[in-house]
Amino acid sequence: MPSVSLSKSDIVAQARALGAELVGLAPIDRWNDLAEVPANRRPQAIWPRTRTVIVLGVPLWLPVVEAAPSQLGREQIIVTDKLLEEAAYRLSVFLNERGHAAINVPRNSEDEPDSPDEVPRVFSHVWAGQLAGLGKVGRSRALLTRGFGPRQRLISVFTALPLDGDALVEAPLCTRCGNCERICPAHALSTSPGQWLATVDASACATNHKRLRAAFRDPCGFCHKVCPVGEDRALFGSTDTQKYFDEAAVLAQNPFAPQYQDWLHIRKYGGLPLPEDPTSIR
């Protein structure tokens, strides 16, 4: 195949045309000093010809995330993941057709708690996102972006084409507020003094997910909805994170408290009742 010269902006434009809302590039040497990703999970260990990792992201809409656990939230994940998989595959083909070898790395290799005991975690799109300048990994170990906090899904394309990396986000973004740790219904996050990233009890998180999945209400996403970071909070007019902590007590007093009726409506339809959650069966 003859090689066609492609600029970074051509590739970014193509990724956006395919539906990516966030696009960042990371040269592979950026993995060299990253202790969090072991050597056998770095791009060159997965595909030796890799020179650049292109990370794509699509946001999750806060009004759907904060209504979890709901069937609508589950559908949102299905739709965004399918879109990402297709965009990454097509971007790889776009590069290949122009003579630049590329492969897409599927989403399910993510170090996410969906089913950590079943799915081998090949590659972390989260750390790739940080190295591609999309954001910074926060306390909950999600990638936080300026635009959407932790509320986005990510995927990666590996290419043999050397390209300039995007500027890294220098600001920490994570405010250390601890909301993610406090809200977690599975108590899966814990942080010792001086520890920057929480320790994740993946099995506790997965157990909670399985419970929700059986009712068609996964993912949980509580650690995503409570995060105060993200310009989407102002866009969607939901900046008061205390509301999530007050919910149970307010609804116990008044099940018709108006400020929660949208979430209750979304939870009510489409999923199976959760026996231990009275708001799911109203």
């Binding site: 539906g19 946001p59 009004p63 299905i78 993200g230 409506h265 979304i266 489409g270 999923g271």
Partner: protein, 280 residues
């Protein structure tokens, strides 16, 4: 980025973006229409789902008639799944387009139920059918589907809800598309529709009867009789579609093949329980 300031978007710009993404029909419904018309319980008002909602953008893609006619086939099932996936992608990307320009929006996904949940509680969080009705794409017909000028009831729908206030499209005048010919009622394998065409705007629909067809008919797992039989739609002309009598001959053959006595209950039989139409 959501942090950037709002960029003006006209209705025409939004509609052309929706079409570029693959929508065949696009309509705009101000949320006030739900309360004004009162067809649904207040619980299904878009503002109940999202208090900032100002406009619902309804979009449709057609189900192609010759495929819809093969309603018990794998091809039909495949069309159903593919159109749903396409719609979900269109709606997500249109919401992203609006958010990117500083106008908050969310897409409401097509499939409103976990597997098996529809049999327990056949009510979805939001009705795309009524959204299409209020957005002027068509009118809710006797068979509780949105009957459109272009495709009759042969299409799939999805919705995007936005805080951006936009002028509503004119609604279809009542009775101008569905003239209550009752062919859908007569063709239905399970007598799911009933009612009095002189008094009722649309039938009572027994959704449970509709689901039960799977247990009753091995050869009608993915039924679409009430869709293909509808005489409304420019698509009939485009495809030079079959005469309606052919569908009734097919119906008779299905009863024979599955050993079910033909029309145990007369298609124009007794009233069935009224179930709110909030198709997912």
């Amino acid at each position: 980025m959501p942090g950037s300031s709002q960029i003006h978007l006209s209705k025409a710009t939004i509609a052309s973006e929706a079409k570029r993404l693959g929508a065949a029909l696009v309509g705009f419904a101000p949320v006030s229409r739900w309360a004004e018309h009162g067809d649904l319980s207040w619980e299904f008002d878009p503002q109940r789902l999202w208090p900032k909602a100002k406009t619902v953008i309804a979009m449709a893609v057609p189900s192609l008639l010759p495929v819809t006619e093969t309603d018990s086939s794998h091809v039909y099932r495949s069309q159903y799944n593919n159109t749903n996936q396409l719609l979900d992608k269109i709606a997500y990307r249109l919401a992203a387009f609006l958010n990117r320009h500083g106008h908050a929006a969310i897409n409401i996904c097509r499939d409103g139920y976990g597997e098996g949940v529809m049999k327990i509680r056949p009510i979805a969080v939001f009705s795309h059918v009524w959204a299409g009705h209020y957005a002027g794409l068509g009118e809710v017909g006797w068979n509780h589907c949105l009957v459109t000028r272009e495709f009759g009831p042969r299409h799939r729908l999805v919705s995007v809800i936005t805080e951006l206030a936009l002028e509503g499209d004119p609604m279809i005048e009542e009775g101008s598309l569905c003239n209550k010919c009752l062919l859908c009622q007569k063709a239905c394998l399970t007598q799911a529709f009933s009612g009095n065409r002189k008094k009722d705007r649309r039938s009572n629909m027994n959704k449970f009867a509709c689901f039960d067809r799977r247990a009753k008919f091995k050869s009608a797992q993915h039924c679409g009789f009430c869709l293909k039989v509808c005489p409304v739609g420019l698509d009939r002309e485009l495809y030079g579609a079959a005469k309606v009598s052919q569908y009734f001959a097919e119906r008779k053959a299905i009863f024979a093949e599955d050993g079910v006595p033909l029309d145990l209950v007369h298609p124009l039989g007794s009233e069935t329980s009224e179930i709110q139409n909030t198709e997912g």
